[in-house]
Symmetry: C2
Subunit: 669 residues, 2 copies
């Protein structure tokens, strides 16, 4: 019986039970490996159980809810969880909170209120923290963080909102000078917040001092109506995130006291003198923190869920005959289906280990920064940018591949897959648009490449740019490619070649008279490719390296090695052109590698269901008629359809439109 | 002033006006080329105007509507249009109907009622046609077509619903023997239909005769309640198609008279004798007809709209500095943005000409079939299968690329893009799952390849498999690749190589002892690639060929030639590995080709807005705050957000959840 089941309940569909009968490894051990330890598995499960057994938090009828019902539900969940976390004695910033988010599939409100709190802590003076934090922690005020404007995104210097210092009244006057300056997108602002940290151009005596954070009250705490000068509302429906009230905000001569500029790093004195203090590199670090922290809960786990659903469904669904006369075959036995799903399962493993690695690196750098050592920051920034861009793209397109691999049923919300896709794909454009991020990583790589040419030491993740690369792959025969040393060298070679080639193009263009910015723009398609190749190499390397340390269990090691081989060879098989380009691989070698890759699929197939069982999601987390542990997909679909409130109502269209036509029909045809 | 505007209205945003100032060709001429003729442009516009100026049919607040409001609106539109078409004297099956569908973005109900009518015409006897068609045409009965079952899709022989002949009563007894046999997905069935053509296994005296169509009444025409033995309802929410009531249907001992089996091709006599008559190949042809007919309205035009929206937005949106100190640049000036959007614009042109070609071929074959000549059917089937699979994939992923290229605003429903994507992507799994379809095309190609080896004549679209292919590309330098003869040869070479290589693998596997079905399955990933390569070649060839005939205007010819070059070179640039594989292109040639491709981007950029203006959608059709003709994107977004009914209501969450916390807050902070 699965750990989250209260009673034995439905029997498992024999089609799925059979897939679990002769595992090649101990499932529980693999679950512990993914969690990091036995204790972590235990903690995660206890939090998930506390959430999914609480009837107030039930998501059972989520797919029938309207946008406003979703919003109200998320607010209810948030207030309920606040009390529950207190009652259970969990820390507000411990691992439990992450597991709560996982258990509820993110169906919580007031997420940006959390950012509001963190921003006050980071940007406020001690006095400001003492004033605002207790109010915010008790929900006596509800805040948001208002940066992005209707006409301005990633490029912060382009923001137009102004905060003009009025020396006479010792106030700032906040204004939205034109329509493009309307604050747009802040979560929780549409219908909830009373306060906002507004990013605005500070103006003193006609001179601009750049972007600064200001505390602005937007709604009354007494009756929730907008304050004078404030126009605020919801920006309207989106592709997903129905439960979040993203908002807009226009301000007209809104006056706030001088004390309400958040002033840890800069301050305006009463005579209008502007004072800057300390380094604000820590701000920059916050941006990285968000990108790192979203990778597991928002990105990786979404692909994991999609893999669980589509692999289990593929082991139950039968379609067409494979062997003539043998009846319909499980779709998981078709090579084309395996080629869609198994590389994505392997991606989940690769990304899982990579996210751990990035978090370790992040913590290291954080410790250094606290000791005022900022040297490792550029590398972390480049790594986090490239990873955010690459992983959000790979994971969201992967979810969609899983969805389509479920055929028609994948299009029903009951499959769980449409909602996973429409939500995760937002991550490609929020927290930095992906192309912009890849170009930031590319800038770092080009700098490293130039450094290597002049003999400078390079940060670890780019150190391969200092060593010469081999000109020809030495492996032969399919089995020769089932070797991490071989395929990592192939990935390294590609990354090196693409970085070098972009650097050379840049150099040539500048030499032939192009201004630097023109050269950069004309090379940017290739620069993005270089960043992707570097990031892909980093992931494959991390996975292959972790193979040796994550477990001493030989069965687990063997299973993970196979998954790692599949991950790496699939990437080369798919982007063959990049690898063939300079003859590093011969045509014959590529054929051998393709054979090695395709021959891995039936081997992975044997443990496919177990490999996704290891992601250890309860049915309540998956919320999928196709992906439940028991595999009773048709039963689930029918039962969910019949539960649809629409099926219990009389169709009003009969009276309004159909009846006049139908009533003339003879009763006996 | 645009042709669909009633009054001059808003001025065009100068950012966009500038893009239209110095066209390299006559826009109206290009519009006529795409429509096929001046007359066709005139007809299309007149239909669109009749629809968008009719207040009953307004889609203005579509993005705020609930699922049931969408359904009710679609039913209202359908009944209204039925009367309007009559009043305007349009034919029920003329080109006007297609333009109505276009003008309403498909927001119509009773679409499967149309399939119901066509099926009776195709499958019914003259007596059955005489009985049912007048009732159906007058909407005295509302029908659907029930084929797919919960557990069974593409593989028709797997369907489980039974129709057992009862000789005593001269009836058929229809049954859903188990849950997997539940009819699932039929449009209009969820809440609307009174009748259904049910596909069921015919059973006479214990023997099964395969799938046959039966007319079954499911709901009363008097009060719309389900008839005895019938369980019918809506299958629940989907990723899109909110306005369509896809349904489920279970039947328990439902008795229908013997006369209600549709009997044009087979009949059961009163003594239980089964009689088959004539060829039912025409049925098979119907399936092709649907795949061909969906390509323009459902697939191509969706990508066209996405291109219009994203290109216009890219010409208005400014983001980051390109040239330092020059202020924020239009995002359309970034190479990475051009590389995302322009190949998709080119794809619209390529597909537009290809769809015309397929329709011509379809009409030819139809004429032949009417003369009982079925020889061209396999080629048409292979072509339609491959095109449906390839184009649905390319166009839906293209729409999503456009959407993401609009950054955060592309995620708002107001952009129009999320709805385009979530709808068009359904076409990848309906009317034949794409992988299954590619494998059908591959089967045809493998047969042709074998035929070529033994000197048999091949159908035109595969005739290249009879001629030897050149071993090396002869072009040199970037300009050498701006030549259709050169790039078509490259595409041909790839298709030939992949087909030959899959055929050889199949042959080798069978020679080494694999059963045929095992060999086929183990080659299927490569077979799909072969089908894609063949289809891609066909599209490039069609575009390049049409260049010579679609217009005599030299400016238009020049512009289209450039678009064709971009289309073809982009495909090679993207899938370079496929083309490099056997050394047909050298590394140096690929570099030259890449340069040629990247250098085309700034040339296309000059006319980019005009190239999408030529798709000639009115604002009402686009329904996009980002894509309107006047380019006033920020004004539109804000106005639409403020029109949101949610912004006019008091937030109930304030009373229920927030007030207890907020009311303790001091009124002066």
């Amino acid at each position: 019986m699965a750990w989250w089941k209260v009673s034995a309940g439905n029997d498992v569909n024999p089609e799925l039970a059979r897939e679990r009968e002769s595992p090649s490894f101990n499932l529980e051990t693999l679950i512990n490996v993914l969690d990091g330890s036995e204790e972590e598995t235990r903690l995660r499960r206890s939090v998930v159980l506390a959430v999914i057994r609480d009837p107030v938090l039930s998501r059972a009828d989520l797919y029938f809810k309207s946008r406003s019902e979703r919003y109200e539900g998320a607010v209810r969940n948030s207030f309920h969880m606040k009390n529950k976390i207190k009652a259970l004695g969990w820390a507000n910033d411990g691992p439990e909170v992450g597991y709560v988010y996982r258990a509820l599939g993110g169906e919580l409100a007031l997420n940006i209120h959390g950012v509001f709190v963190k921003s006050i802590m980071a940007l406020g003076t001690d006095a400001q923290i003492a004033k605002w934090i207790p109010l915010a922690n008790n929900y006596n005020i509800l805040g948001t963080y208002a940066q992005t404007e209707l006409g301005h995104g990633t490029y912060l210097r382009g923001l137009e909102t102004t905060a003009t210092f009025d020396e006479k009244t010792q106030e700032f006057v906040i204004n939205t000078p034109q329509i493009t300056a309307t604050k747009w997108w802040p979560g929780d602002m549409g219908k909830t917040s009373t306060h906002a940290i507004v990013l605005a151009q500070l103006i003193i005596a006609g001179r601009s001092y750049g972007m600064h954070p200001f505390m602005v009250q937007v709604r009354s705490c007494q009756d929730h109506s907008p304050l004078p000068g404030i126009t605020v509302g919801d920006i309207g429906p989106k592709m997903s995130f129905e439960h979040i009230d993203n908002g807009f905000l226009m301000m007209r001569d809104v006056r706030i006291p001088k004390e309400d500029m958040l002033s840890r790093f800069s301050e305006v004195l009463s005579d209008g003198t502007y004072v800057k203090r300390g380094s604000d590199k820590i701000n920059y670090f916050t941006m990285i923190a968000v990108r790192v922290s979203m990778l597991r809960g928002e990105v990786l786990e979404t692909l994991m869920k999609a893999c669980v659903i589509s692999v289990r469904y593929a082991a139950v669904r039968r379609q067409s005959e494979l062997k003539p006369g043998d009846g319909e075959a499980k779709i998981i036995d078709y090579q084309t289906q395996q080629q869609k799903l198994f590389p994505l399962v392997a991606t989940c493993y690769a990304v899982s280990f990579t996210v751990k690695y990035i978090n370790e690196l992040y913590n290291d750098v954080y410790e250094k920064i606290k000791a005022e050592d900022f040297t490792a920051l550029p590398e972390l920034h480049a790594l986090a940018s490239g990873m955010k861009a690459y992983l959000t793209e790979v994971c969201s397109s992967g979810v969609e591949i899983c969805r389509k691999a479920c055929g028609g049923h994948g299009y029903s919300l009951f499959s769980g897959l449409p909602s996973l896709y429409t939500k995760v794909v937002a991550s490609c454009t929020y927290e930095g648009e992906n192309t912009v991020l890849h170009l930031q990583t590319a800038r770092f790589l080009i700098k490293c490449f130039a450094g290597a040419q002049s003999g400078q030491p390079l940060p670890p993740s780019a150190s391969y740019l200092s060593s010469p690369v081999s000109r020809r792959c030495q492996a032969s025969g399919p089995s020769g490619f089932l070797n991490p040393d071989v395929y990592l060298e192939i990935y390294k070679h590609r990354a090196y070649r693409l970085i070098a080639s972009a650097a050379n193009k840049l150099h040539d263009l500048v030499q032939s008279g192009s201004p630097q910015y023109v050269a950069w723009n004309r090379t940017s398609v290739e620069l993005v490719k270089a960043s992707i190749a570097h990031t892909h190499y980093t992931i494959a390397k991390t996975f292959a390296t972790k193979l040796n340390s994550v477990s001493r269990d030989p069965d687990i090691k063997k299973a993970l090695k196979r998954v790692c081989d599949l991950y790496a060879l699939h990437g080369i098989f798919t982007d063959a052109g990049d690898f063939l380009k300079d003859g590093y691989l011969s045509e014959k070698q590529l054929d051998a590698l393709s054979t090695a890759y395709l021959d891995l699929l039936p081997l992975i197939r044997k443990n496919a269901v177990l490999l996704v069982d290891a992601f250890d999601f309860s049915d309540e987390e998956l919320l999928s008629a196709l992906g439940s542990y028991d595999g009773n997909v048709y039963h689930n679909l029918l039962e969910w359809a019949q539960r649809n409130p629409e099926n219990k109502k009389v169709n009003p269209v009969f009276e309004s439109h159909l009846k006049p036509y139908l009533q003339n029909t003879p009763s006996k045809l």
